[in-house]
Symmetry: C2
Subunit: 297 residues, 2 copies
Amino acid sequence: MSEPKIIDGKAFAAGLRDRIATEVAKLKEENGITPGLAVVLVGEDPASQVYVRSKGKQTVEAGMQSFEYKMPETTSQEELLAKVEELNNDPAVNGILVQLPLPKQIDEQAVLAAIDPAKDVDGFHTTNVGLLGTGSDNGLVPCTPLGCIMLLRDHFDGNLSGKKAVVIGRSNIVGKPMFNLLLKESCTVTVAHSRTQDLPGEVRQADIVVAAVGRPEMVKGDWLKDGAVVIDVGINRIDKPEGGTRLVGDVDFASACERASAITPVPGGVGPMTIAVLLANTVTAACQQNGIAVPKL
Amino acid sequence: MSEPKIIDGKAFAAGLRDRIATEVAKLKEENGITPGLAVVLVGEDPASQVYVRSKGKQTVEAGMQSFEYKMPETTSQEELLAKVEELNNDPAVNGILVQLPLPKQIDEQAVLAAIDPAKDVDGFHTTNVGLLGTGSDNGLVPCTPLGCIMLLRDHFDGNLSGKKAVVIGRSNIVGKPMFNLLLKESCTVTVAHSRTQDLPGEVRQADIVVAAVGRPEMVKGDWLKDGAVVIDVGINRIDKPEGGTRLVGDVDFASACERASAITPVPGGVGPMTIAVLLANTVTAACQQNGIAVPKL
């Protein structure tokens, strides 16, 4: 095989953010609407703080309004639910994201269930899961799998019909919505996971492999069919032999490059897509809430 | 291969109805609750009339209350929605089923969406689709796929973990919920459909084949792996060469018997399960609504 195409998620995300900014400008001019995203952070988790800051910055750069709410580690469930209710009722807020994980005194499921599904830009609400599960276009779709399908649609010029796809991992956040998105594109889809008996055998059949298991470099190059397209959702930090650490995906990138026709790197593949898709979901939510046709982004 | 085991859905459904009747008697005695199922039939479709009559009869035989509402073919959407709202608010009604298809002046989706998810014994409401899609046990699951998984759990003594399952068909009523149920049992699951490129090749890998496409005898015996377990959801009426008609499934039964280790016949396989599971769902709904532990049926 020749060298695979490296699917540049960073560049794609930058282009997506540009298209979002254009749509936001249009929404302002034609409809007098400035989409607004509210992010709620409870506690002091350093990784969450970095992530929330990045979301706020990119939201503003796209021309949207960013609302950040920082609540102390000791926040009670009632206090957080009251904040969610306030944001549900705030017309300036089109999207609500409660940063996970939450402190242990708070029931995450109860909080996610309290978010107005129309503002649930994370796509985790039961109503949005159900809409995706029935193939509806009226819901909001989780950011990471939606980012993966955007990269795949771009790579295949929009035609995934009949491709054989294998999703490794069955989480509610990535694996299951990924299944639904690939099925909607008319792929033949297999979901494999920790109980799968012959994982290399499953992967070997796939035109498209989506790895979302959270195990560093688990998927080996010799598991792949020649010419497979590989989407690596994993972001794992491992020790370097010479000291220090580095980020790797769920796919062994070096060996995968010998077989794949295209592959997302880690970092720089799926990772940068997630926040860009969050912004896209906020635009989608703003349009849906105002009865405006959702732009194709 | 020796002759396959014929999975007797009629006998299993009879046993299920007995277990339901026992639980209903217990609910009356211990909790003073008689589960009630309301079936709404709009119009004069003869097949629907037969089906509704059969549901009502089996509901009463299980010791539950049956409420039948027949509305004229000319019923408006507003009138049907008003009936649904009345049943949503009626504490004697634990389950609501609006018989499909509906006359063309009525938007089916709008009617299904109006049913209280807690009373949606068909499991078609977005909220129930979302609950099944996230692996929750708190929802109501569509009757036909739930019946299929009951037959499979019985056949495999409850242990489906790691089995390779192929679902043929991707409808919201059977294929997609079947995927979710098999995944919840820790099968490796593939969903194949009309765009699948090598359907025989997919089927040949499967320990479990669920056929739900509505094409008479489409799945041939030589597509099967030796020892496969075959669940045939199809019910198709075809002409007999000598005149008259007969019912066949989506699987070519005669040739499938040469390879399968177990198979559901048509009729007498999945078919009889559907109403029995509807009764089970009504018991489940009555328990959930009253905060009573749902019995294992």
